[in-house]
């Protein structure tokens, strides 16, 4: 694994879908930053959200918790939050925790956007 990399978050709109692109490490210190970014999307009433984790090299339980809370909050207002680009060690974490059973996972942002905007 590379030395510690700060979490970077970029947000963009593709039609009705909001894409949140994450890269770097999501350990405990960065999880709060992720939570706040996701809470802002929910507060802004984003209804179709893709969180792309392709560039994420580490995620801990706090980061997973932030994604779970956001998924629930979006779902409660009738929206959808899905994940894309998960691979390697990060996919292993999702499988081990069985979170691959509750999140919809897509190989790329494009496939995720296509699925939720269908």
């Amino acid at each position: 694994m590379s030395p510690i990399k700060p979490l970077e978050i970029e947000s963009k709109q593709e039609g009705p879908a909001t894409i949140l692109t994450l890269s770097g490490h999501i350990a405990t210190p960065e999880s709060q930053v992720l939570s706040e970014a996701l809470e802002r999307l929910v507060a802004d009433r984003a209804q179709k959200i893709v969180v792309d984790l392709y560039g994420v090299e580490l995620i801990t339980s706090d980061g997973l918790g932030a994604l779970i809370r956001a998924r629930k909050a979006v779902s409660e207002v009738g929206g959808t939050l899905v994940l894309s680009g998960i691979h390697g060690n990060i996919l292993d974490v999702f499988k081990m925790t069985r979170l691959d059973k509750i999140f919809s996972l897509y190989p790329s942002v494009d496939t995720a956007v296509e699925a939720i905007c269908r």
Partner: protein, 145 residues
């Protein structure tokens, strides 16, 4: 800095999550002097982060007046790390399974599972306020078991 094999190194931090990064940087630097692979380093940082977060949030209730004590030792085969808080400990034998169907959507409770899954050995002291973990080279197949 060069780290001596089989010598214990100690770091004490106040109970604040922003203190975690410095500890992780120090230990990851030390790991560059071991035989561990990139996947092993991933496993160590993940487990270490979980242990530190547990100690700060649950053990010391995020009281900055309470310390978390980290000790680590580089060995020929890997690294041993212990994390101790000033709390009264917890019953690590009776933690609900976060992979159970009815717990999957809960946002917390996965830290211990990740620590156990990614490290080769993990043990607690009797009080339950100190965890000691060992990671050796290349046992990553166990991660998905």
């Amino acid at each position: 800095m060069p780290f001596k094999k089989n010598a214990w190194y100690s770091i004490d931090i106040p109970s604040a999550s922003e203190e975690i990064l410095e500890v992780e940087e120090s230990i990851i630097e030390a790991l560059t002097q071991t035989v561990l692979t990139n996947s092993d380093v991933f496993a160590v940082r993940l487990a270490l982060d979980e242990a530190l977060a547990n100690a700060i949030k649950h053990g010391n209730c995020a009281d900055p007046g309470k310390k978390v004590c980290i000790r680590f030792r580089l060995e020929d085969e890997g690294i041993t790390i212990s994390v101790r808080d000033e709390g009264c400990g917890f019953d690590y034998r009776n933690i609900p399974d976060p992979t159970a169907d009815d717990r999957l959507e809960l946002p917390c409770g996965r830290g211990l599972l990740l620590m156990k899954s990614y490290m080769d050995k993990i043990s607690f002291n009797d009080a339950g306020n100190e965890v000691t973990m060992f990671k050796g080279r290349g046992n990553n197949d166990s991660c998905l078991q």
